[in-house]
Symmetry: C2
Subunit: 723 residues, 2 copies
Amino acid sequence: MRYFKSDNYGKKLVFGNMIPTHTIEQGNYNEVDAYEVIGNIDVKDGCIIWDIPLRPTDSVYGLGESVRGMNKRGFEYRSFCSDDPNHTPDKQALYGAHNFLIIHGASPVGIYVDFAGEVIFDVDFIKSDFLQIRVSSVDVTFYIFEGSGKEIVKKFRTLIGQSYIPPKWGFGYQQSRWSYETAERVTEIATLFDEYDIPCDAIYLDIDYMERFKDFTIDAKAFPDFEKFVETLYKSGIHLVPIIDAGVKVEPDYEVYEEGIENDYFVKTDEGKPFPAAVWPGKVHFPDFLNPEVESWFGEKYHKLMDLGIEGFWNDMNEPAIFYSEQGLKDAIEFAEQQKGKNLDIYTFFELKDRILNLSNSMTDYKRMYHTYEGKKVNHLDVHNLYGYHMTKAAAKGFESYDSNKRFLMITRASHIGMAKYSGIWTGDNHSWWEHLKLNVQMMPGLNMAGFVYSGADTGGFGGNVSPELLTRWHQFSLFTPLFRNHSAMGTRPQEPWAMDAKTLSLIRDVIRLRYALIPFLYSEFMAAVLENKLLFAPLSFFYSDHYSRSVEDQVMFGDGIMLAPVYTQNARGRMTYCPEDMVLWKAENYESLSKDQLTLLDQGHHYIDLNLSQIPIFIRKNKLIVLVKPKNRVNDLDLAEITVIGFVDTVAEYTLTNDDGFTKAYETLKTKFTVTRKTEGFSIQVDTNDASLGKATFYLIDGDGAVQVTVQEGQDTGISMV
Amino acid sequence: MRYFKSDNYGKKLVFGNMIPTHTIEQGNYNEVDAYEVIGNIDVKDGCIIWDIPLRPTDSVYGLGESVRGMNKRGFEYRSFCSDDPNHTPDKQALYGAHNFLIIHGASPVGIYVDFAGEVIFDVDFIKSDFLQIRVSSVDVTFYIFEGSGKEIVKKFRTLIGQSYIPPKWGFGYQQSRWSYETAERVTEIATLFDEYDIPCDAIYLDIDYMERFKDFTIDAKAFPDFEKFVETLYKSGIHLVPIIDAGVKVEPDYEVYEEGIENDYFVKTDEGKPFPAAVWPGKVHFPDFLNPEVESWFGEKYHKLMDLGIEGFWNDMNEPAIFYSEQGLKDAIEFAEQQKGKNLDIYTFFELKDRILNLSNSMTDYKRMYHTYEGKKVNHLDVHNLYGYHMTKAAAKGFESYDSNKRFLMITRASHIGMAKYSGIWTGDNHSWWEHLKLNVQMMPGLNMAGFVYSGADTGGFGGNVSPELLTRWHQFSLFTPLFRNHSAMGTRPQEPWAMDAKTLSLIRDVIRLRYALIPFLYSEFMAAVLENKLLFAPLSFFYSDHYSRSVEDQVMFGDGIMLAPVYTQNARGRMTYCPEDMVLWKAENYESLSKDQLTLLDQGHHYIDLNLSQIPIFIRKNKLIVLVKPKNRVNDLDLAEITVIGFVDTVAEYTLTNDDGFTKAYETLKTKFTVTRKTEGFSIQVDTNDASLGKATFYLIDGDGAVQVTVQEGQDTGISMV
């Protein structure tokens, strides 16, 4: 093993010659003779096993998209991009492979396992009181970071590159369904948003918009004159976001297939033939995105849809998901045939069942696949976790070559560390379970640590039938996630905002309008998190060191100034909440009803908070401000003509709201700085801005004694003290 | 429709002539002309649909074994006994059909739907703000109860008959595993309990003890000289509890099969032939337990094992679970064959997958099955929910005919209202998920309402791998459930108390020893609940009317004097708890360490309770007592030689501890009454007993001001005031 150190980023431990992931290519690491490694690393039977003792008070954060709590102790996780639509608590792997974690205790340590294949993280589960990292290879690189939780995140995130920034409309409400199957239906959805006066910026097209599920084609019957359709919606402020799947349909004369065959662009069998698998289109081949030539070729295919006016995509099925392979199906059917007429013993019956069930995403198939990577033939299993990453990188390169100064919306399902440079992610096929709303909350900090700041779950849940109450509560949390998309599966209860009942429609409209009122603030916080390599969502213990903060699992810090404590249980009319310091509770209901009565000063400590179904608890830290604007039905229409600032000002509170055009890469061109100072009597307010749209500002200010004062100020850069 | 009233029990609403369930055959109902029915009942398309408006503050309790919270609002449940080993939150039906619920609000109403087929309960889910009951027939009887929650439960439980009482050893710790496959292994398990000094009273035998899964046979190779083996364990105080499955193996010369064929005892096809299904033994027929002759015949088969010394059984697979039917398998294999060599479109592939998957427990198969019930040929679907009930009734009748004054242990998986007279239930194949520990807590009150007082979940979880922490926390809750059984599935991480690590072994041993210390008290509370038709586990709102109590979903009342607030989340070192009145918190750790410091007076209100992994929070109500004895390793060895009373005595607290021989039906023959009266200084204590074993009693008494006093008293019936 070889030892490296970097002045700014920490240590690196290199075993053998790993297949490069190119996730970290900077940091100025210099080789050193040795250094002390925590725990014990063994090389055994071709595997590397790293045992690190955990103290009782250590939390383990990270591992990105994974089940269970923010503190990952108590389970064994598997880093292996998996298309699994049942996110029960025993699922070791979901769609992302995010090998970064932080042991957060007296002296925090961050570890990134730089490896393209499967990695196992036993976090105090089978091996009690230990973190055990198992890599199925003797070629791997570990990065080790030290410092506070925040410092470790900053170092790691700096190394993996600046996280993806979507166009500003990507912060708007996004409506999806598998599927809105015709242009007419999509138009109807768009119209209903306007009729119900609900803000919305995007509608998604799931697989049925394609012609026989062929990437980069349009079903001309369901979507006649697609270009005009896109344009009409675009003019009304609605962006269409079509899906792109990893597998390319095997169909003669289908351009993408023919070019792929011609240029030998597909993932291969051991014999060098295109590997035949089946996904939505039936028989497909998988583009070998790991080959830079394929990356360019596939990336440019996106131009076809961009030429038709499309500005956003979602990449799916790129773990890659395989429903079955030709060989696998043949074997299973043959096995079934052999059982015909037999009086099966029960284990043979189970085998029959398993053979059919295990056709999908089988390790046997993955083992049969080969890539050309770094000029060499590489088995798929050795680079499995890079596949979705490279598909999305291909798309991002395609965007770059189409218009290098424009932002495009991009979310993807499979992901890997390093991919966050190119795309956001949604958290895949969750369910309409209260447990998955909680999981959504708990997953956000880990996703942010892995670089995925632009992220969110399918609001309301993808699988299963949602209840009006769950749909409402889920919206109340997604209010804060950068990606705020309502998506659901075929055959489930429709869950558009109006699909339940009048009461629910009204509640959800209020939430979405509040979202739009908050978008300038959320966007500003998002940009700070991305550009300064911070967490947008963090565990409380990243801010507070007391032992309660360490164990809180159902509250998160948002940005620098807010704590969220969402309601995530059925029939609840309130919840217990821990305030790590004195905080102002804003029981938000909707933009219009904001009043002094919704603001209360809470002491440090535990509190039961009564919350009707309409109430969203937002906790403001001391000397912090929140900014709201008047909501509009499109992100583009938002401005600072009428703003509201809510502040908990004990001494001085400053906040700089940043803004920009929302679609080019010139970030944070507009800045509005608010400074509120508590005086013996009341407050003084200073606003400095280069944003010409700033009009009237109303301040709701609470001082450390809980007194609330409402002040209105007109114009900008006035520097006028409160009247 | 016809209207009936009973002076003592309420109303009855009769539609047509339902297939009788014989669950209620008393109550002195008299026909009346009409009465006002809440909500609206429609007869439409051969179905009865009853819509009952729910007020925002109404809770809906009941529905026995079902997913989700104690308050059932927000989901649609299906009453249809189902073998489903994945209790995710979207499962509408589990193993039991428990058509009893209470709308608990300003004027509570209880409803029992007396019907043997499928019933749907939409509780404020698809139909917002309504309870909708849908019966797929025009022949059904509804019972309607009024009064307080407790009164409604008492009326209903009185009508359905006194709940099952197990032998007292059924309150001991019970160890199970699918499977301990040999006598040697079972003996080793028994020995390990003694070696580790962990109390235990029973070890379960799962399906592998049988010869080729044939009911009432023993695998002579794995269990040579079964009778002697049973006797040896019995002498050491360990009861063996073998499993009995519903399906009878089709095997020439197998007595049960041959007799069933000979006497035409099996469930039939439409053509009158024994219905061929496959379960564990491969091909089976199902005894038609609904036929009284079959009931007697099958019940007496249990004698075979009782003759070998067995005193307890568990009935399984009696929904009935069907892995596949001959016809179903044939159809599926043929469908698979037809796809051979074809380039499947994806929907055909899904159909292939579904055909294989849906072979198990298919409605098509159930529809093909026929019973002889009440002398008529009845389709299975019309009496589906009675099947497991009647299997277990058969067993109970068998016990009765074997020894009518002896209690036998009996738990069953499938169940129905009315069955609680004959048996307890375990809650089926749960998982090692924290969510299922919570579900266990939330399910107990509903099970009790349906009459199942002797019940509990598989402690530690049946499916999946348990973590040491979850295993510990689950034991800490099961400490209170009458059935306290650790059971897990083949292929999962072993979860016997010693299977984790030394720390966990020690923690679990402490919990089990505490269980044994509490058994006299738990048994006394259990007997009161059964004999007085009360809940052993109740929602807080059955005791307190404030709005917080109404919405608490993770705390339960136990008996009359205790509130439980178990820890059910990963990595928690405490939890929020609501005290509806001033309560004494006992942070129990183990029997030996009991001290004044573990007792704290808490004010009415919300509290955060710090709880290490070793601490079990037990809340004692005002003027209530808990009694402990010195733990032993077998229930039989427990006596009152050394008892400890913990009491929260503001004015006067009385508690009568009842006891009996534990195995005959002479209940509550022994009574020990404790009376503690608070005096100006300290307390006076009176103990009256007819239990000769009563020796030294130590009292930990806390007054309403929180002062704790420890007093020791020797002997019985002393009437001596505290020294």
